[in-house]
């Protein structure tokens, strides 16, 4: 008797895939298509008058100095958030992986921030750093630092970067910790016996073996800082002061929802979509080659 492992049913696999495909089509492809479609029209908010304008919306967006400023802010923001969130998470994971008393408690507590909704996280930060009612905000002013993120663009950007990173550290921590725990102890022990100190062990064994996790997190963090940080910015600074914390995704929101410029906002989201597709492609093409699986 030979046991067949080949699955013969032709329809069932598609049936099983269908729900996921439907969700993807309805919630991802259809809106994306709508955005592309909208981006070549100028339309009043109610959809009563529509003019086809070819690529005028793109031209306007790309020649707008404020848009280019927003691109700059976004890259600074994304780069800072990704590096802060990943480095501190890695450091925390390495620490928590050691045999210390109460490791379980630390691990649990470190995961908590992930459960906090972005808007709530932002409000927490607001109550800490508000220049007149925040605890640390007041303390900073008392020791002579002119802390006022409502008027100082650099401080505002720093604040949203810290808040957004803080939120993401837990997520990264979780993955790094899991990655660390899957590294075979025997390899590390062998290295210790050969006289490798902990720094050496980290850079020659742990870090390379963590690279799939790191690569995965790099992607997730980039996407997070591009798309998911809206709530933090909205609740903390609303894109201000001036336009100091207006990232691309925030600009899409404010132009589309607040300013009701559907064509311009769609053009921006198409550009944003292409930026992220491009970044992902670059990462898979070049960074992934250096990753050990």
């Amino acid at each position: 008797m030979q046991r067949r492992v080949i699955f013969n049913n032709k329809i069932l696999p598609y049936g099983l895939l269908a729900p996921q495909l439907c969700i993807t089509l309805i919630f991802f492809f259809w809106p994306a298509f709508q955005a592309v479609y909208q981006s070549v029209f100028i339309q009043d908010p109610f959809g009563l008058r529509t003019q086809f304008v070819w690529f005028e919306n793109f031209k306007v967006v790309l020649s707008d100095p404020y848009y280019l400023g927003s691109v700059r802010v976004t890259f600074i923001f994304a780069f800072s958030v990704t590096s802060i969130a990943m480095f501190s998470a890695l450091w925390l994971a390495v620490m928590a992986d050691k045999h210390i008393r109460g490791a379980g408690v630390y691990k649990t507590l470190l995961i908590w921030p992930y459960a906090v909704a972005p808007a709530v996280a932002a409000v927490l930060w607001l109550f800490i750093f508000h220049p007149s009612i925040g605890l640390l905000g007041r303390a900073l002013r008392e020791i002579g630092i002119l802390w006022d993120y409502k008027l100082n663009g650099h401080q505002a950007l720093l604040l949203v970067i810290l808040a957004a990173s803080w939120k993401q550290i837990s997520y990264n921590f979780l993955f790094f910790l899991a990655g660390l725990q899957s590294i075979p102890k025997s390899v590390l022990e062998a290295a210790s016996i050969d006289g490798a100190n902990s720094r050496k062990r980290f850079w020659t064994i742990i870090f390379p073996l963590l690279s799939p996790t790191t690569f995965f997190l790099l992607m997730v963090n980039m996407v997070y800082s591009f798309f998911d940080t809206f709530g933090v910015i909205h609740a903390l600074t609303g894109g201000g002061p001036g336009k100091a914390t207006e990232t691309l995704i925030y600009k899409v929101y404010s132009d589309g929802i607040i300013h009701l410029d559907l064509g311009g906002s769609s053009a921006q989201s198409v550009i944003l979509m292409m930026i992220v597709i491009g970044l992902t492609a670059i990462q898979f093409r070049y960074v992934e080659k250096k990753v050990h699986y």
């Binding site: 007149s132 008027l151 001036g242 336009k243 009701l260």
Partner: protein
């Protein structure tokens, strides 16, 4: 087990009953009403809606909270595009131009009342309120409901500490500045003067009070081709005053929109320009004696001070395919109901919004409310202290929310020291005019 059986039987009886009764309920014409007032204001509004439903048996208005004003606006627009707009939507004052430009999507108030044959007199509304929601020929487009205006609140305890007479609040900008300096010098409060809603209080209200145009074409009321005029010498002078006051430490920028509100009830700021609606919060939170007075003006400006203008929201009637005359009639009846003196008086005293009709105001005066709550009628007196001029009737600028943001951004840059007062106003005018032209183009028939 027996309990469960009883329960199921009861449930069965109940469902049967409901099935029989609901056709009787369904005979009422149902009207959807979307509003953007969070608690506690939303609850008070819904109570008024419930009163309307109880007052007659033909119509049933279903009030639904749809989030903040911008959220409500976006929800209504999306619903209109899908063909099922609510019958009534509450829209903030800066959305007025957008709604007016949406010709087929709305049913103007004057037309609604005529078609529904419901008696209606626009004259019951206070001119500054009526003008804001009317075409330049006087035909009203939407139904005013919750209106506020900007006033100046001040901390009497801080005034005393600084050696100032708490019964003599500042009237002019020169006085505001010297009072704020004294408050800082005596360290009676951390902030001398601040302002919430910076664009609304320091530009929109400021222009109206000084009888100075914010934009051409009677602030946009007479046509969509208006251009901004906030680069006038008076506006630049005012921004310079704010910059100077900030430098000497007597003024502190409180953030965008309502962010500055928190600074007054906490005792942080001694003087604030804010919405008259802040009164309720101050009453609840402030642990000091406070007073309220009219917004200041520059004495040397001819014609100042004029009446202030309103903020807040109004109710718009929206269209949808298959909407029946009977439904419009119900909407008209609802509007008539909320314009009654009792309803206006109740809304005003319970929320701190303005009494928007003279009859409503008289009702409140007669009740002795202002005797028990001194200062509660000040916003109304400021709003009605003069006959509105072309510059103090209100604003009708397309995409006003975006223009407000532009002005806030340019003001912030000026306060950061990145640009001069004149440059900031030039930039605001240039960028704001782009917004206006885009709106004009988008709304062209």
């Amino acid at each position: 087990m027996k309990k469960l059986k009883h329960f199921i039987t009861a449930l069965f009886v109940l469902t049967t009953l409901i099935t029989f009764i609901s056709p009787a309920l369904a005979q009422k014409v149902e009207l959807q009403f979307w509003h953007g007032l969070a608690q506690p204001l939303g609850g008070i509004l819904e109570k008024i809606v419930a009163d309307f439903n109880a007052s007659q048996n033909l119509y049933q208005v279903n009030a639904t909270f749809k989030g903040s004003y911008p959220d409500t606006m976006v929800a209504a627009i999306a619903a209109f595009r899908a063909g099922n707009a609510p019958h009534i939507v509450q829209m903030f004052e800066v959305g007025t131009a957008t709604m007016m430009a949406a010709r087929e999507a709305i049913k103007p108030l004057h037309e609604l009342m005529r078609v529904a044959n419901v008696p209606f007199d626009p004259k019951i509304y206070v001119p500054a309120v009526r003008g804001y929601y009317s075409l330049s020929d006087g035909r009203m487009m939407s139904t005013p409901f919750n209106s506020s205006t900007a006033v100046m609140f001040y901390n009497k305890d801080a005034f005393r500490k600084a050696g100032l007479d708490p019964e003599k609040p500042p009237r002019t900008w020169a006085e505001v500045r010297s009072y704020a300096q004294k408050i800082r010098a005596a360290n009676a409060a951390n902030i001398g003067f601040t302002a919430a809603w910076p664009t609304w209080t320091q530009f929109e209200q400021f222009s109206a009070i000084h009888d100075t145009p914010l934009a051409t074409k009677a602030n946009g009321m007479d046509g969509m081709d208006a251009v901004l005029m906030i680069n006038s010498p008076l506006h630049i002078r005012h921004v310079q005053t704010l910059i100077d006051m900030q430098k000497e430490g007597s003024f502190k920028y409180g953030g965008r929109d309502s962010a500055g509100d928190a600074l007054f009830p906490s005792g942080e700021a001694a003087i604030i320009h804010a919405s008259s609606g802040l009164r309720a919060r101050i009453l609840r939170e402030a642990k000091f004696e406070w007073g309220v007075t009219m917004l200041p003006y520059y004495e040397d400006v001819k014609g100042a001070p004029k009446n202030s203008i309103i903020g807040g929201a109004s109710f718009w009637t929206m269209t949808a395919p298959k909407r029946t005359p009977e439904e419009y009639k119900g909407v008209a009846e609802f509007y008539r109901f909320i314009g009654q003196p009792d309803v206006v008086a109740k809304w005003h005293t319970e929320t701190g919004f303005l009494p928007i009709t003279f009859s409503g105001y008289d009702r409140v005066v007669a009740s002795g409310y202002y005797k028990q709550n001194p200062g509660a009628d000040l916003p109304f007196r400021q709003l009605t202290r003069s006959e509105p001029t072309e510059n103090s009737r209100g604003l009708r600028l397309g995409n006003m929310p975006e223009i407000r943001n532009v002005i806030q951004e340019e003001l912030e840059k000026a306060l950061q020291g990145q640009q001069s007062a004149a440059d900031s106003m030039e930039n605001a005018v240039r960028r704001g005019n782009v917004v206006l032209r885009n709106f004009e183009r988008m709304s062209r028939p």
